[in-house]
Symmetry: C2
Subunit: 238 residues, 2 copies
DNA sequence: GCATCGTATGGTGTATACAAGACCCAGCGC
DNA sequence: GCGCTGGGTCTTGTATACACCATACGATGC
């Protein structure tokens, strides 16, 4: 193991992890309130680390805090989703262009290839939970390949919020997404920035439209007016 | 005034504002420690709101927290600065492209023109403090013109961190920056996305190289090895 | 019956207290 | 002299306590 000290993380971080997870896997529904006291008691800690964890998660956009009114899990509107995806596209394009132009460390390339293989296998086997995780890792590694730390960080923050869109949703048509991943990687390997940009734009817009379709389909089936409703059967992967 | 309730912000936010300001105006030097207890006593509050304020400011990248070791004001290396500027360029280009393509609300255009006029006047008069503030406002308004909330937010966060670079620095050659601002606005008014992109890239890379020069010059004059040294006589505006 | 005002309750905001970790330095042994 | 060890101090981590705000609901007046 690494040093013991480094492994001992403060409670606020453990609480933040737990809170994030509960939000992303839908245990805390969008629009639902987060009560400091209740969460604290549930986790067996005092309110202080919970409050600090809330500030962390707030800065990631997963919850919204109104002073003296409390905390609710963020609800991402269609418009906000569109905005987030647009920002993500801009950043991811910048990342792959940079990666293609200046080359990527072999270790990162190998890692990407490994994730790609795992992802294709998981897609074929229909392991959607795993696929979602692999998808996040692929894009994270892609950002890392740019060698730009600020880019990695910014994209990770966006990814977190976008994940909210897929909460409780199954992930369909994942095979297509993984083909696109493969082509992006090919373009980077070839050092062709324009090609990489084109593939990335295609991937993101494809994922966005897949998401839109699913969202519309879910809105038909479920009650569309209830903002806190958990969309079932919807979801796509970018 | 608006409602009284909305105006009453919690202490953590007031403390966060104060902390930000102290960092950005150099009262807290880069690399310097931030002691919770001391800050709390100085501001006449308890440690709790201070701790929460620190989480806020941490999420903005202005301070770095090491568990059980404490808080230090972030030091931005040349490489990190480069990375941040690159991300900013990507986002700002996306913003002006979108603004040019889909048009900007007249109110925002007027606001931009007003800031531009004020900025030009301030540049001529040599009011550098004011100029820095106007510069931030111009870019903020520019982002708002894109109509993409996520973009506004992301750029604001970057701007905060970049401001660290200019801490305690005078702002030279500001006139040039404001000419560039004017051309960006012209391009958006004309609805020419390619032109707007070109002007924005020129502006940011121009500002970056002005900054680099100043940094190099400052490193010659001052002790280059001391990370916490406050560079004097350096600074540029983007 | 309806509007309005108390009042109870649930919740957040802030302060204080204590525990535990990290760091510094003196003193000791080798 | 040099490294190690011990305590002391400074600082952060966590818990508890209380005050204040927001809201819901019932009582009271008309």
């Amino acid at each position: 193991m690494k040093t013991l000290g480094a492994a001992h993380r403060p409670l606020r971080e453990l609480v933040a992890d737990e809170l994030r997870q509960r939000i992303l896997d839908g245990r805390l529904p969008q629009g639902g309130r987060v009560i400091e006291d209740r969460l604290a008691e549930e986790l067996g800690v005092s309110r202080n680390p919970v409050r600090e964890a809330i500030r962390l998660v707030e800065s990631e956009g997963l919850v919204e805090v109104t002073p003296r009114r409390g905390v609710v899990v963020s609800v991402i509107s269609a418009e906000e989703a569109h905005d987030l995806i647009e920002v993500r596209a801009a950043l991811e394009v910048a990342a792959v262009r940079r990666a293609a132009n200046q080359g990527v460390a072999p270790a990162v390339l190998e890692e990407l290839a490994a994730i790609l293989a795992e992802g294709a296998a998981a897609a074929a086997a229909g392991q959607f939970e795993r696929l979602s995780m692999l998808n996040t890792r692929f894009h994270d590694e892609l950002a890392r390949g740019s060698g730009n730390g600020a880019l990695v960080e910014a994209l990770r923050s966006l990814q977190n919020r976008l994940q909210l869109l897929f909460t409780a949703g199954v992930h369909r048509r994942s095979g297509k997404a993984w083909e696109e991943h493969g082509r992006i990687l090919d373009a980077i390997r070839a050092g062709d920035a324009d090609w990489a940009e084109a593939e990335t734009r295609a991937h993101i817009s494809g994922a966005a439209s897949r998401y839109e379709n699913n969202r519309a389909a879910a809105a038909d089936g479920a009650a569309p007016s209830d903002a806190a409703a958990t969309p079932d059967g919807a979801g796509a992967q970018a």
